[in-house]
Amino acid sequence: MRLLGFLFLIVSALLIPGFILRIKSIAAGRKGPGIWQPYRDIAILFAKGQVFSNTSGLIFQIAPAINLSCIIAAAMLLPFGRYGSLISFDGDFVYFLYILALGRFFSIISALDTGSSFEGMGASREALFSMLAEPAFFILFAALAIVTGHTSFSGIFSEYTISGDHNILIMTLIGVFVLFQSSLVETCRVPVDDPKTHLELTMIHEVMILDNSGFDKALIHISTYLKQAIYGLLIYNLITPFKLNLVFQIIIFVLVQALYAITAGLIESFRARNKMNRNPKFILTISAVAWIAFVIILILKK
């Protein structure tokens, strides 16, 4: 049963990007591509060969695979409702963040490895924004750990909805807000970054992968899709009552992931991307909201 959650995560990762594309085309009044378009693109990329620039070295070649494996390792830590995760130990949310950070570190140094000034600029932005986004996640899960008395994802989510604590509604509201906004930062979506931008000067994530081609580029796209599904699963775990049976859990999971994709698609359709110098403020606001939840829980729990 533990494998079930992981499989659901993979399936939702396959569907979310196409769903977001569909929402965007409906909102814009276009016919647009179908739900399976991202996978047609990936299939084409898998069939293509790779081209490596003369200036890049080994790091550039191995980074996409390391990034994807780090994200898969992080995904294994997440439980699916009352069915625990594949791997679980005390303090695994710290491991989760650092394994994601390791993947990001490799994508940053692979961008630097190409020797392109544009990619260096993108790498610097990615490093800054993820540095600012990380505290939000840490603070939120520290607050959840205080509420539940556990420090692993499985422990936190198993105790969370049945803890009987009066403050879990506050935590859920703030948690969903923080996780959703963090996911927009981590998966490089509007308003922080625009995956469809065509100017290198305004890119963040896309500018780092300009030199990647073929198989490597497919791996990078899959990593981003998995990250979206991971955040969707975290939000699902936060709002789902623990003792529900499997059918209801699956229904709620599908609804949460669909709602996540619809919201992200609508935000992308109706909201402009932030100016680059406003992004740090936007990301710090997420941490500040998480910080409020942490301080209030700390006071109430005394």
């Binding site: 009066h166 403050n167 509604l169 506050i170 703030i174 740090p280 403020k281 936007f282 710090l284 606001t285 941490s287 500040a288 909201v289 910080w291 409020i292 939840a293 301080v295 209030i296 700390l298 006071i299 109430l300 005394k302």
Partner: protein, 204 residues
């Protein structure tokens, strides 16, 4: 219930530090008025009914409707829509705001008595700091008015915290609200005409 409203109130304070448009400030002020009404209704269980209705009506009418309306009128007549003259970038403002919450929690803990809930104390102190921070870091007089109104909201929150023991304090807080609000808004509402742009030049 009170705790939920207080946390939402604290969250609006965060957005004061990061917003860049006057209209967002005004909406946040209106939202704080609404939340204060809810906090007063939920928190003041021992105050008599007449007084409670008066307090709720005052916060709704004065803080949520009249003040935001007058502020919107000032914005419309003066044409000042953006907080384009910050003394420091909003990023640092936000950092100061985060530290302010930490400091308020520490002060509230050191001042803790049996009469006042520490959550009330923390958020009221935090709101006070946010109001002062807004006044110190902004150059335009419109932002100063908003900073003053946030400080007033903090005073109101303090008075609600001790309202069950000292109901007179709330009425004094409301009097301060009405006096200062009408004085300041009346003054600016009457003085500034649509064909002058003096509000964009006014500093202190």
């Amino acid at each position: 219930m009170v705790n939920y409203l207080i946390v939402l109130f604290a969250v609006t304070n965060i957005f004061f530090a990061s917003a860049e448009r006057i209209s967002i400030y005004i909406r946040l002020i209106a939202m704080q008025g609404l939340l204060l009404c809810g906090i007063a209704l939920a928190g003041l269980s021992e105050v008599n009914l007449g007084n409670l209705i008066f307090i709720a009506a005052e916060t709704i009418v004065f803080k949520t409707v009249i003040m935001p309306y007058l502020l919107f009128r000032i914005v419309k007549t003066s044409g000042v829509t953006k907080v384009h003259r910050l003394s420091m970038p909003a990023f640092y403002n936000l950092l100061f705001s985060i530290f302010a919450l930490l400091i308020s929690a520490m002060i509230a803990k050191s001042m803790l008595t049996g009469f006042v809930s520490s959550v009330f104390m923390t958020v009221a102190l935090y709101t006070l700091f946010v109001g002062l921070l807004l006044i110190v870091t902004h150059r335009l007089i419109v932002s100063h008015i908003i900073g003053f109104m946030i400080t007033e909201n903090a005073v109101f929150l303090f008075s609600v915290a001790v309202g069950n023991e000292m109901p007179m304090l709330i009425n004094i807080g409301i009097l301060l609200d009405i006096f200062a609000g009408v004085l300041i808004l009346g003054f600016f509402g009457l003085r500034i005409r649509s064909n002058t742009n003096e509000i964009t030049k006014l500093k202190d």
